[in-house]
């Protein structure tokens, strides 16, 4: 479900992830709520998948709403690596 170059924001609280989903859907930002990939989260967390092109908009909206994700990864060469700061 996660394509090469996609970003994955991990949330470890069901309430925060649901708020984030509602906010982003309300603003029509393309994203999909997915189960956190097994190899990047030990607990049963949820994640939001989005494309690199939507990163700026999506992460700014989350930050404004005080819904900063637990961590953000990007899929590169089939592996999840921690995403650096937005450029």
């Amino acid at each position: 479900m996660v394509n090469e170059g996609d970003f994955v924001a991990i949330f470890n609280s069901i309430h925060r992830v649901m708020k984030a989903e509602a906010l982003l859907k309300g603003r029509s930002v393309p994203m999909l709520l997915i189960p956190a990939p097994r190899n990047i989260s030990a607990d049963c967390g949820l994640a939001i998948r989005y494309a690199a092109t939507d990163r700026e908009t999506l992460e700014s909206l989350l930050a404004e709403a005080g819904l900063i994700p637990e961590s953000i990864y990007v899929k590169l060469d089939g592996k999840y690596v921690k995403a650096g700061a937005r450029g």
């Binding site: 479900m1 999909l32 709520l33 997915i34 189960p35 949820l46």
Partner: protein
């Protein structure tokens, strides 16, 4: 070779008729005359799923299917149930409780299936479960991927009609209660979600 004419029969009558004819004369070739479209697809699927060989020829007013061979008996493997694993998804929500949580859990469940090694052979959507396979569902992409991995996906036609979604089906095929009931009873394992 015996010939039966199932043209102008409404679903699921063609499948029922063919099933009876095959049971009455095991091992004998059977020719079935059918209308194109759903009856042709349903009868072909029915016969192929049971291990018969099907040859199709176009005839006036439809198709003629020649069904030969014998039904394959199910083989027992120790530790595994005999027959296909069928998942029945009867709601667009997983479990009782708050609606938004149920929807989220169902979405999460379907996407999680992709991560598993052992997949169901077939997923049947009934009642509001059919909404998951139609326009606007967030699991269409995941269901398409499951389809590519060989999982058969069917949605109940009555249910699609009820929700006015028959022409909004995005993934899998439309099926009827006969096939659903038969699929459940022929299954080695039914997982009801």
């Amino acid at each position: 070779m015996k010939t039966i004419d199932c043209r102008n029969m409404a679903c699921p009558l063609p499948v029922v008729t063919v099933k009876r004819a095959l049971a009455e004369a095991p091992g004998e070739a059977l020719q079935v005359l059918l209308d194109g479209g759903a009856p042709r697809e349903n009868v072909t699927r029915f016969a192929v799923n049971r291990g018969f060989a099907v040859t199709e020829t176009l005839v006036e007013g439809g198709v003629a299917l020649e069904i030969t061979g014998e039904a394959t008996p199910a083989k027992a493997v120790i530790g595994r149930p005999v027959g296909p694993t069928v998942m029945l998804i009867a709601s667009d929500r997983l479990g009782d409780g708050p609606e938004e949580l149920g929807r989220l859990l169902m979405k999460n469940f379907v996407i999680t299936l992709l991560e598993l090694e052992r997949l169901p052979d077939r997923i049947l959507f009934v009642n509001s479960g059919v909404l998951l396979a139609t326009d606007g569902s967030e699991v269409v992409e995941a269901l398409e991927k499951l389809g590519d991995l060989g999982v058969e996906i069917f949605s109940c036609g009555i249910c699609l009609d009820y929700f006015h979604r028959r022409n909004k089906l995005r993934v899998g095929e439309i099926t009827n209660m006969f096939s659903i009931a038969e699929s459940l009873l022929a299954a080695g394992l039914v997982v009801r979600v």
